[in-house]
Each structure stands twice: as C-alpha cells, then as structure tokens.
Symmetry: C2
Subunit: 356 residues, 2 copies
C-alpha cells in the first residue's frame, strides 16, 4: 500500500516576516487560499487517502497541523521532539508505517514546495510507486534546472534503468549545494537534475539502507520499533532523538546508496518558493507587473510584490518605485529590492539579533 509522509519542516527564513519561527513556511497561504501544507495534501487527492497520510512536525507546530488538517487522524501526526534532520524523520515514519504494513511504499514530500501540475505529478508518483513496490529501489524525482541555483542539491543521472526508456534513469551521483561554477557546469552538461527532496521507497528498503549507512540511527530506530504501541513510545522517541546525529537523508543515505533511481519530472511547475522573487514569479501580476495582496494604493509603481495582512494593519501606499518587495506584518515592515531576495536570510538574522 502507498503511504504519504509529509515533512512539515522548512523555516522559510527568506520569506521573513511572513514566515516566522512561530508560523513557518508550510503553514502560510503563500499561493492561494490554502497553506503550502494543505496544498501538499490536496495534491495527493485520489492518490493517497488521509488515513495513510502522515505528517512529521516539530512539537511547537503540532497544533498548526491539527488546525490546518482537521480530517487527518491525530495518530498520523508524528511529532519530532527535536529536529534531527530528514534521515531521522524518514526513519521514524518508516518505523511507524512498518508496524502495520512492513512492505508499504512511502512517498516522502516536503510541505514547503509547490507543484503546479498535480495530475502529472501524481502520474510520476504512480510510476515511482510501481518501481519502488517491486523491491529495493530508492526512487527520487529530478527537476530539470532552469538556472544555476546554488541552493539545491543536484542529481547526476546515469543511463536509463531500462535500456531505451529515458523516463527512469539510474543515478550516477548526488551533489549537495554546489558553488556557482559547478552549478553552471551541471546545467551545461544536461545530465543533472535538482533534488526536490521527493522520494518513493519501500519502508523495508529504506530501513535496510539506513542500517547500512547510518548504523547509529538504525540502532535508535530499533529501540523505537520496540517501544511503538507501548506507553513508553513518546519517551523512547524523545530519548533516542536527542542522541541522534543530525543528518539529511540525502547526505546520510542517498549519496551512498547504490539502489537509487531518478524520474525526470519534466515541466510540472515545481518550485521551492524559496524567496520573495520566487513567490512573485508564481503569483499573477497586474498590467504594471505588480502582485498585490491586501490594501494598497500605488502611483507609478511597477514590478513590485506588495503583501500586507488582511483587515486591521496599516495600508501600503507606494509612489515612483520599481522592483521592490514590500511586506507588512504586525511584526515588521520589509522593503527590499527584489533582486536581493535571496539575501533576506541575513537581514532576518540581523533583525532577530537586534530585536530578539
């Protein structure tokens, strides 16, 4: 059976002050009337039911998940006592699912990305499920890069898995965030994909790979296996988690595993909504190139992203400005040049240091 494991992490520091530690990116309505988390669930509609959907979340955001996904069975919310990277997160979910379905296929999905073409996405997942279900393969989706981004991991594809069928490729190499020179070379080569953090594998297959490459995590998961279903489960998870090495599933397992395959996604409208420039590019604009949410009055204003809270707060008024991102929340008013959107993390950090 298929299961979804949605990782409701992702701080979205480059979307501050919309995204805050109290209400990070997955829980924001960035692209419409539903939050990114809700959209991640919606995208699986008809493909994986809520009873087989798990959400892994930090303790402080448990309530947000419950509010935003009221129909999700409460036991399907897996709370991480502390963040220990995606390897631990994936391992915990695999352990929980394996108790009822030892050969389940789990689809791992970040809750802070968007995918425009949900039907094509489900078709891809169905194909990945088919491959993963048959055995030990670790299947990832590979997004065709459109720029030499240095913020993503890259997957270098090898020859097709089945000779003559380019829809499923073997994996030659994973590379974590490269420098720009390397990223340009990857794109020029044409055989690299962005690692979107979307994985499909059987729970027993990923546990076997964790055992091979992250033996300490495997020992911890075995303790959790034994405790699951008992009164001591939560305290065991808490104890085990706090002792784990913090590592991503990409670095800890995928880079070393030999059973990886990659499915090129083609044009499915994937975006990590990584910063305000990315957000602006995903939202409709008016005739002057502005995207506006909330009350705004503008004269000679072009190519701006203007976001303010509904209702109460002050209104935004602009005159003679171009290419700005202006965001107003009860916490802060942000004004940046859109071309500097990727540097916002520095500003948010400095802001936090100045006004903790």
């Amino acid at each position: 059976m298929r299961y979804a494991v949605i990782m409701a992490g992702g701080s979205g520091e480059r979307l501050w002050p919309l995204s805050t530690p109290e209400r990070p990116k997955p829980f924001l309505k960035l692209l419409g009337e539903r939050t990114l988390l809700q959209q991640t669930v919606d995208r699986l509609d008809g493909f994986i039911p809520l009873e087989r959907t798990y959400v892994v979340v930090g303790a402080m955001h448990r309530e947000l998940v419950a509010r935003q996904l009221p129909d999700l069975p409460p036991e399907n919310v897996l709370v991480e006592p502390v963040g220990r990277g995606t390897a631990a997160c994936v391992g915990l979910a695999a352990a929980v699912i394996a108790r009822t379905d030892p050969r389940a296929v789990m689809v791992v999905l970040p809750a802070d990305h968007t995918i425009g073409d949900a039907p094509s996405f489900r078709d891809l997942l169905a194909r990945a499920d088919e491959i993963a279900a048959s055995g030990t393969r670790l299947v990832t989706l590979g997004v065709t890069p459109d720029r030499p981004a240095t913020g993503f991991g890259y997957i270098q594809a090898g020859p097709p898995f089945t000779p003559g069928d380019p829809s499923v490729l073997t994996v030659a190499r994973f590379t974590e965030k490269p420098n720009e020179e390397a990223a340009r070379a990857f794109i020029a080569g044409g055989d690299h994909f962005w690692n979107a953090g979307i994985f499909v594998w059987r729970v027993d297959a990923i546990r076997r790979e964790i055992a091979r490459h992250l033996p300490a995590l495997d020992r911890g998961l075995s303790e959790i296996d034994a405790a699951l279903g008992t009164k001591g489960a939560a305290s065991t998870i808490a104890r085990v988690y706090s002792g784990l090495e913090k590592v991503s599933i990409d670095v800890g397992v995928m880079e070393k595993a030999e059973a990886c395959l990659v499915l090129p996604t083609g044009a499915i409208g994937w975006s990590d909504v990584g910063d305000f420039a990315a957000l602006a590019s995903l939202l409709p604009t008016d005739s002057a190139g502005n995207t506006v949410r909330g009350p705004h009055t503008g004269i000679d204003t072009a190519d701006c992203l203007v976001l303010s809270g509904e209702g109460e707060g002050p209104r935004i008024a602009t005159l003679g400005v171009t290419g700005l991102v202006i965001v107003q929340t009860p916490e802060a008013v942000l004004v940046i040049d859109k071309s500097r959107a990727q540097d916002l993390r520095d500003l948010a950090a400095r802001q936090e240091a100045a006004h903790p």
Copy 2:
C-alpha cells in the same frame, strides 16, 4: 507693543501619513522633540512673551494647541469656525489685538515652517518691528531662493527703502506660485525672494489696507469689532466667517498694497518642510546617508528616510534599497522614491478616495 500671531494651519498633505487631517503638520515633532508649533513659539523666546502671543487655529485642533502650549493663556487661542484663508485669519487677530492695543505691531508667523538660526531671525523681526511701528508700512521677510520652486509665492524687490541700505527693500511685485520657466527667470534675475508668509505690521495699518482692498472682509471685521468682549462674540465670528470670501492675505492685500517692504533674510535656515525630501535634508544622516527614526534594521541601505512610530508598531527592515522614503504609522505604510516626494499629495488623495 509687539504681538505674535501664529497661524496654526497647513495640512502637510505631502507629509502623509505622518500628517493627517486629525493631526496636521504644525502639531508634529518633525524636527526634534518639539512640534513645529512649539518650535515657532520657542523661536520667539525673549522677544515676544506668551501673554502677547496669539494662535489662530481651526476648531478641530483647538485641543491640540491647548495640550502643546499649556502656558498660553486660553483667551489667546483664536478659533476659526471655518477656514477662510489667511486674510480673514489676519483680520480677526488684528481686531482682537486692537481692542487692547490699537497701535500694536503684530508679527504673523506660519506654524508649519522651520528656521534654523533663531537669533538672526529675531534680529530681523526686531528690525521689521522698528519699521512697522513707525507707521503704515507692511513688512515681509524675503527668503533667498536656492531653486526654481513652483510651490511658493515670489516677491520681486525694488530699490532700497533707504538709499544705500540693502537690508530693507521696496517691493516691486508679488507673484503667486509661478510656472517653472518663470521661476527660473526669477532666480536668474537675482531680485526675487520667496514669500515665507512672515509679516510684520501695525494692526491699524493692516486694517486700513484690508478696508481698501477687501471691503467685504472689512465690513465683517467691523461687526466682529462691535461684538468682541460681549457674550455674542463667538456667534458673531461664526456668522461673519461663514460668509467671507476665501482669500489669502498675499493675494487679497499684499499684491495690491503700495506700502510693502521686504527684508531679505539671508541664510537663516528657513524651510517650509514641504515634503519628505525637504524633511530628510533637515535631519542628520548616518554614514550611509540614511535618516532613521524608530526601530530599523538595514543592509545595503543608503540615502533613505526611514520613519516609524515609537514603541508598538512593526519594525522596518530594508535590504538593497537606495533613495527611498519609508514611513510607517498605524494608518499606512508609505514607500516612495525620494525624488517623487513633491507628488505625494496625489497619492494621499487617491488613498483617501480609495479608503475614506
């Protein structure tokens, strides 16, 4: 005796949203810890005492005057029932002062300007007082223009009043707000000054000129003369005012009067603080050319004016922006290019139309 008549009008639409109909420009702390109205009074310290200082104000701002000038005798606040331009305002003040001192010299001062060099300013007023006290002369101060501003009235000077003494000049002509071509010609000619709306004259002299050039206003003032000191004074003022033609003292009297003189101010740091660009030029800047009031965090931010309320509201954060004015109040967040500061009135009007 000398009397001050401070006209606490001036809406400051180009300083929106700092300046609002409820709390217009004279009542704002734009340049330090005292409001422009308070600074106008402070500037007369040792020159005209509060007992001989009158403030003319609209009914809705009477309380602001009382709060900001607690030591001003309450009877020295002259409330205009409706705004009818500066001619009526001056006439009313002249009528009130003449009751106790028929030959008083009144110094008329706008409360929404600033003057950096108060001692030199008082010296100028003393000289003007001396001239005005001796008879029928209407004395104005003339500010040397430093740019072809189209928002001010201009005074063309004639020959010196006393041959050989360029400190007091006769007046050839008043010109209301000229177009830019005319303004450039005025500056090139070297004989034009800005009319700063600062006048010194005897109350009987200005009444005589009003009688000559604005006979309807003179008739109204005569009714007020008769009512002053009686129970019916307020209702008489209200009735007379509502019937008056709305005209400025410049257009209604100065342009026509023959008794005008102008005292060039020289460099006394006069400014009408007319818009945010003017305000920025009057405030100290940091090493990056920014003027900041209120909580702000900035990276790569230069030549910006950043103003926010004290305490409660959101903080302002900027990244990669230059030459902006950013103002945050509970009503609005304003973001404009500083070079467009003079066009802010259009934006404030549109904002008001959109969100009345």
